[in-house]
Amino acid sequence: MTALLEVRDIEKSFGGVQAVCGVSFDVHEGEILGVIGPNGSGKSTLFNCILGQLVPDRGTVRVNGRNVTALRPSRLNRLGVSRTFQLLQVFPELTVRENLILAGQEHRGSRLTRLFGARDAGLGSEADRMLDFFRLRRLEGEKAGSLSYGQQKLLDAAMAFMSGSRLVLLDEPAGGVNLTMLADLRERLEAINRETGVTFVVIEHNMEFVMALCTRLIVLAEGRIIAEGAPADVRRDPAVIEAYLGH
């Protein structure tokens, strides 16, 4: 079985400071992989290298066996890789429903059918499903900018699933979300994973959230993987504790 996502020997440095030093790992179909590590350990840089936002100095990224290293984000997305961002990234002037349709439209038909075809690019029922699934139905006509922070986070996550991606990378989905909303979000993500088998890679600082959500964890420190395994094991790993609390 080949891995859905294959990361090999990624290296990236900024102005002489090595942010990521030779990171390799695989992500398998249906997994929820968490990537954790203290501040400055290189998680975001690694993420951006995988997603084409940054060009790695070395190493390759493969999706379904296809080399996608340094592919532009829009191309990567059309190959079935979605992502969310650490900071809020919805389109405030579009309605909730339009945000969802936008998130899927570039995967439907050709550019011409998108011009001459249906307004919703045939994504109406898909959007409906997401609205219901993420419990945003009553807000569908609101401008996304008028939603509360937590609701926007839900919408942001929902948008990642509109394109039918098989691999979704979530960058700090829990950041700034209050406790009740957090439970909601986790439960929704688990449900999607269960029902559709979508694979997740999650960067997250909220350990409680990440320990409960993920099936497997990778721990980064100073740009390297220092531990890997089930959440319960990782939590007990002295190397991990040291990385977090210092020596």
Partner: protein
């Protein structure tokens, strides 16, 4: 409230836009001591500093420094009151010389005639600054830059220094040097409130610790007790600490 507190926070709420980061923080920071703030990312540590220093508005609650209510103070008034702030990351003016970067720490000095003397003292204390006085700040190493930032903060003879993640990006040797400088400052009577990722190392040189989670104070205790507290690992690696009921 501790009678020797230099800074106290009373149910402070603050945040950015729609996001609330501090959900009613209360704490008392001891005079003449080093206090380290620890907590997982997103707990609101840096926000706490910005709020205390007046860069971010206090929504509700009260901040008291040295006995005076400073809740609505602007940074300039905080400086005048005797607080300096060394933020995270690189905060020098890259195109100015080391000397001029240092000098800018004295902008708020009420008596400008003292500036030259103060700068002289700083250069005596940190000889590196004198050696490199005319170099562009951007040519300094990471550790040297941090030293310069600390020296710049000290120019005003603050009573309290807020220092955010001083060790980040520094070599272990340099971290030791920075920490020893902080200890020296404490001996000189400066109170220090520090955020530090490297919790164990920081607590080891600290007198007190303050544990934040979800924008609230979870533990306020001596550094020793916190170091020994088994809940700390749990705090960082999941499980969280229930708010004291």
């Amino acid at each position: 409230m501790a009678p020797d507190a230099i800074l106290t926070l009373d149910s402070v709420v603050a945040g950015y836009g729609k996001m609330t980061i501090l959900n009613g923080v209360s704490a008392a920071i001891h005079r003449g001591a080093i206090t380290t703030v620890i907590g997982p990312n997103g707990a609101g540590k840096s926000t706490l500093f910005k709020t205390v220093f007046g860069l971010l508005g206090v929504r509700t609650g009260r901040v008291t420094f040295n006995g005076a209510d400073t809740t609505s103070f602007e940074p300039r008034r905080m400086l005048d009151a005797g607080v300096c702030y060394v933020p995270q990351g690189r905060n020098l003016f890259p195109e100015l010389s080391v000397r001029h970067n240092l000098e800018l720490g004295g902008v708020a000095l009420s008596d400008t005639s003292r500036l030259a003397g103060r700068m002289e003292e700083m250069m005596a204390r940190f000889p590196m600054l004198r050696e490199k006085a005319n170099a562009q700040a951007s040519t300094l190493s990471g550790g040297q830059q941090k030293l310069l930032e600390v020296a710049r903060g000290l120019l005003l003879e603050p009573k309290l220094m807020l220092i955010d993640e001083p060790s980040i990006g520094l070599s272990p040797l340099m971290v030791q040097e920075v920490f020893s400088i902080l200890k020296d400052l404490r001996s000189a009577g400066v109170s220090i409130l520090m955020i530090e990722q490297n919790a164990r190392q920081a607590l080891a040189i600290s007198d007190y610790g303050l544990v934040l989670e979800q924008g609230q104070t979870r533990i306020e205790d001596t550094a020793q007790n916190i170091l020994a507290d088994p809940r700390i690992a749990q705090l960082f690696l999941g499980g969280g600490l229930a708010p004291a009921a």
